[in-house]
């Protein structure tokens, strides 16, 4: 058994508008908004790193939960934009948080990373008791690399989100999850060392438009829950048009899908947990009402997780 105990997030203070990023790649404000729903994003300061942002989000999460860092048994950090190949940020984050008893794992998966980390945390919570899951990205380091590509540069932002998965108690009980991988598309969305991020947008959208609804419907069927019974869908904030399409595919209003992409852009692995944190602050879980998490990203990897308010 596993519970979602608390959330946290960190967003850098610097706001980068569509006008500011658009002028660098020949895109105007309205075009960016039309193709993505994004109006602004946050870019980290030069001295901020994936690990430092992850640590800030983790601190917020642990502080709110009341769980002592030394009681955390595992720290998982999902990131596709870590500054070095190894070690990944997890060990540093665990150290900085004072999680001295924790084993630290990195999930270098990009967008689906925090969903996979949540799913894995729910499966090992009985053993590790308190599992801190963090998604953190400094995408500005990547999208500002020359040559900048218009279809990529305007989409991404920086930030970190965190969730504490507990074996003992929480705001919501994790009911079930489905995760899947299809390596046939590994070349369609990739970041090779020191090179620009490349994305076959048509393939990504085509596959995501099918696989995310399928994962959501799969996990809801397993849990015998109808889509209209769900309180909120907390989906990876990739693109507002994709969010709307997924909502339509599963037959619910887009209003049931929490969205903050207008303000933060696509923060890759961080986005779902930032959305969860904001939604939990603004609304919160209701007793016995299901909430669905979903994500899709490079690999391709995708999945969905359902939890019920306690």
């Amino acid at each position: 058994m596993a519970f979602l105990r608390e959330f946290g997030s960190y967003l850098p203070s610097r706001i980068v508008t569509n006008d500011e990023i658009g002028v660098r790649v020949g895109a105007d404000f309205e075009w960016i908004r039309n193709v993505s729903g994004i109006e602004e994003r946050r870019f980290a300061a030069e001295d901020e790193t994936v690990a430092s942002m992850a640590t800030r989000a983790g601190e917020v999460c642990l502080s709110r939960s009341g769980v002592r860092p030394t009681d955390v048994g595992m720290v998982i950090v999902a990131s596709g934009s870590a500054e070095r190949q190894f070690p990944g940020p997890a060990a540093t984050v665990a150290k900085e948080l004072g999680c001295d008893s924790a084993v630290a794992l990195d999930f270098p998966m990009a967008s689906a990373g925090s969903l996979f980390a949540l799913a894995m945390a729910s499966r090992v919570a009985e053993q590790f008791r308190e599992v801190l899951v963090i998604g953190a990205e400094k995408m500005s380091n990547i999208v500002l690399r020359e040559p900048m590509e218009r279809g990529v540069a305007v989409l991404f932002g920086d930030g970190a989100g965190a969730a504490l998965v507990s074996a003992n108690e929480g705001k919501a009980k994790i009911v079930d999850s489905v995760i899947a991988t299809d390596g046939s598309y590994a070349e369609d969305l990739k970041l090779e060392c020191e090179k620009p991020l490349t994305m076959n947008g048509r393939s990504v959208i085509l596959q995501a438009s099918r696989k995310i609804p399928s994962a959501i419907q799969g996990v809801l069927e397993q849990a015998e829950i109808l889509a209209e019974q769900v309180q909120v869908f907390l989906m990876h904030q990739a693109n507002q048009n994709l969010i709307d399409r997924v909502a339509s595919a599963i037959g619910v209003s887009s209003e049931l899908f929490y969205s903050n992409i207008r303000r933060y852009g696509n923060t890759s692995s961080a986005s779902m947990l930032i959305a969860a944190d904001e939604w939990a602050r603004e609304h919160g879980f209701q007793s016995d009402i299901p909430v669905v998490f979903a994500a899709f990203g490079a690999g391709f990897n995708w999945g969905a997780l359902v939890a019920r308010g306690v």
């Binding site: 959208i205 596959q207 099918r210």
Partner: protein
């Protein structure tokens, strides 16, 4: 209505434009379809021709022109 006409109507609906592309014209390079409209085209093809297109077949190149869509439909017969 013949098959090509049915495909053209699907493309026009997804593109929200009343234009008829040449059979071998790239629907993407011509700007007629974007990534999201392509997803609409695939869904509409499934409905119109009563087939289920498996995810493994969802290669954008297979749906890049009227000719290629027809070739794909031929391959499914």
């Amino acid at each position: 209505m013949d098959r090509q006409t049915r495909i053209i109507k699907i493309i026009q609906s997804a593109a929200q434009k009343d234009v008829t592309p040449a059979p071998d014209e790239s629907l993407f390079d011509s700007g007629l379809l974007d990534s999201f409209a392509l997803a609409d085209v695939v869904s509409a093809i499934e409905k119109e021709f009563s087939i289920k297109i498996p995810d493994a077949d969802l290669n954008p190149r297979k749906f890049d022109s009227i000719e290629r869509i027809e070739q794909y439909l031929d391959s499914r017969q």
